[in-house]
């Protein structure tokens, strides 16, 4: 937004507001940063941002404001392509950041090498939320193909969450049977056949499982599974992390074209680097995200069961490859679901 339009907006909005409430908001920061993020990260960044602002003020003697926008990360990527001037993105899908490089040339193609751990300050994996006492005895991915197990997870076609579930099941099966593709396909057919409801998104699947009481297992990110358990009753649900699982990265990057324009490059970098600091990593771990900081990992070791995590790039080659072979129209997923 240009300076003039911001000013105009302020003036008119202030006039409107003072008429409405008889008060004017008196707050202004030196610089602003817009963080485009995925939709379940609202509370997380509401906690991280004030910490960063305080630290930046201390170190640079400058007051900054962090604005947030949250939506599905594909929606966000498209909005940025269409002109949303986000300075940084904090997504839950690598492919959605790739889009910014490929379709918009807004960031360089090698963005993942700009920050540590493939530009992923925290990560998660898929977990099973089961009903109290784990009555169906679910411990690993192979148990999901059992005869009397009803599954709930979002549709892999529409949801990143569902995509990870599908890929984790595939990779874990391949890992267990020594890359026997035919056996993996048989397993996937059974597993997908056990799905009771395919909701379009993670929130919908949560509602189906926890509020409507459908299904034996809800498969979602470990962080989400723990938050859902805490929200809907720690005594009614258990979180199970399978012994072999997928690494779900949460990629971040600054949007070069936008920070250049907004004059926020140093601030954007500082913000993303802050996410790797012990303080931020502790907050992240408190929200049940796995972190790379060794000390913090040890501190929260109890929350995160040991598991072998497979990277998408190692198990499937690349994300581009995954999208094409598995999720494109007529791909593996479509063929597996044809009964």
């Amino acid at each position: 937004m240009s300076v003039r339009s911001t000013l105009l907006r302020r003036v008119v909005a202030t006039a409107a507001l003072s008429m409405a409430l008889g008060s004017t908001p008196a707050f202004s920061a030196d610089r602003e940063l817009l963080n485009a993020s995925y939709d379940i990260a609202r509370e997380l960044f509401a906690e991280l941002n004030p910490q960063f602002i305080e630290q930046w003020q201390k170190e640079h003697n400058e007051s900054v404001e962090i604005k947030q926008t949250h939506a599905g990360s594909s929606t966000q990527a498209r909005a940025i392509l269409q002109g949303l001037r986000a300075d940084v993105v904090t997504f839950n899908q690598v492919t959605d950041v790739d889009v910014l490089a490929q379709k918009g040339q807004l960031i360089p193609a090698d963005w993942q090498s700009r920050l540590p751990n493939y530009s992923s300050p925290y990560y998660s994996t898929m977990a099973f939320l089961v009903r109290k006492g784990n009555p169906k005895n679910i411990h690993g991915w192979s148990d999901l193909a059992g005869d009397d197990v009803a599954l709930v997870f979002p549709n892999p076609k529409t949801s990143g969450n569902g995509r990870y579930t599908y890929l984790a099941a595939w990779a874990a099966s391949n890992h267990d049977n020594g890359d026997d593709e035919a056996a993996t396909r048989d397993y996937m057919k059974k597993m997908l056949g056990n799905v009771e409801v395919f909701d379009t998104g993670g929130r919908g699947a949560t509602t189906t499982f926890a509020e409507r009481g459908i299904g034996d297992v809800l498969i979602t990110f470990e962080s989400e599974a723990n938050n859902i358990r805490n929200q809907y009753g720690p005594d009614d649900y258990e979180v199970v992390v399978p012994p072999v699982d997928i690494m779900a990265e949460f990629p971040v990057t600054w949007v070069d074209k936008n920070v250049e324009r907004n004059g926020t490059e140093d601030l954007a970098k500082g913000y993303l680097e802050y996410l790797y600091s012990p303080e931020a990593q502790r907050t992240l771990a408190q929200y049940y995200y796995r972190v790379n900081d060794d000390e913090i990992s040890d501190e929260f070791a109890e929350r995160f069961p040991q598991t072998t995590l497979l990277r998408i790039e190692d198990a499937f080659g690349s994300w581009g490859n995954v999208m094409q072979t598995h999720f494109a129209s007529g791909g593996e997923l479509d063929q597996l679901q044809r009964r």
Binding site: A13, L17, E43, L84
Partner: protein
């Protein structure tokens, strides 16, 4: 002669049915909004109402209405004047075109504007070279709201102005009145009530519009979130009280609007009787 369905039983039955339906579909949901907003007591309600984000949302909602109403007021009068007082080729077509915003789904309208004015759009790419941003900022939200609400004023005025005809204005011209005098002394007093009615409808829709603005908003908290978007956002956030507080605010605005409308109707009714 007794008609079918004229019996007391049928009449009572029908009235009861109407009352039950109204209660189920209108009264209970409306009361429910306020009940949910106050479900956890006065303190959380007040806290949500006075939070910075809610205040910003109220400010933006009013800003949109404040800009949309005058724009469409002028546009509506101009359009109605044009199609009822002049004959020109394409007049019928224009009258049909006015209704497009009613016929098109608001989401589609939002998408159209996004494709046109977005960074990669036809006009947007030119604007973005000039460093002008419409989409994902408040001007875009005003723009789509103006589009969605533009038929209201014209639709109220056209039938009335057609019915009234131009006799009075022609008389004015023969007495030597200029264009502005004509409008101010004859046209405006004649269409006054229809105009107010159109403004009320425009205002109500501008405040409540969700679909089109949600497409172009970019949902930046404290910047491009208006009240309807705030309701959705807080609800998704599991903040039920907050969502219903904003919803209650919108409902209250609607009730006030309806009360003004009822007062106006009562006023015109009385005027017609005495006239």
């Amino acid at each position: 002669m007794k008609r079918i369905g004229d019996g007391a039983a049928t009449r009572i039955g029908l009235i009861a049915l109407a009352v039950i339906m109204t209660t189920l579909f209108l009264v209970i949901p409306l009361a429910g909004i306020f009940y949910q907003a106050l479900a956890e007591g006065m303190a959380p309600f007040w806290q949500n109402l006075t939070s910075t984000f809610t205040r910003e949302a109220i400010g933006l909602t009013l800003l949109i209405a404040l800009l949309t109403v005058p724009i469409n007021l002028v546009f509506g009068i101009f359009l109605a004047w044009l199609v009822t007082r002049f004959t020109f080729p394409g007049r019928r077509l224009l009258q049909t075109l006015i209704d497009i915003p009613f016929a098109v789904s608001p989401v589609v309208a939002g998408l159209l504007y996004l494709l046109l004015y977005g960074r990669t759009g036809w006009l947007g790419s030119i604007l973005s070279e000039q460093d002008v941003q419409l989409m994902f900022a408040w001007p875009g939200m005003v723009l789509v709201t103006v589009f969605v609400t533009c038929p209201f004023v014209a639709r109220e005025l056209i039938p009335l102005m057609q019915a009234q005809g131009s006799a009075e204005e022609e008389a004015g011209v023969t007495l030597g009145a200029g264009g502005w005098t004509l409008f101010r002394r004859i046209t405006l007093p004649n269409i006054r009530w229809a105009l107010v009615y159109g403004v009320i409808l425009t205002n109500a829709r501008a405040i409540g519009e969700f679909g089109a603005v949600s497409v172009v908003s970019g949902s930046i908290r404290g910047e491009t979130i208006n009240l309807p978007l705030q309701v959705e956002l807080l609800y998704q956030d599991y903040n039920t009280v907050g969502a219903f507080t904003s919803a209650a605010l919108l409902a209250a605005l609607a009730v006030v609007t309806l009360m003004i409308k009822a007062m106006l109707e009562w006023h015109t009714h009385r005027r017609e009787k005495t006239a």
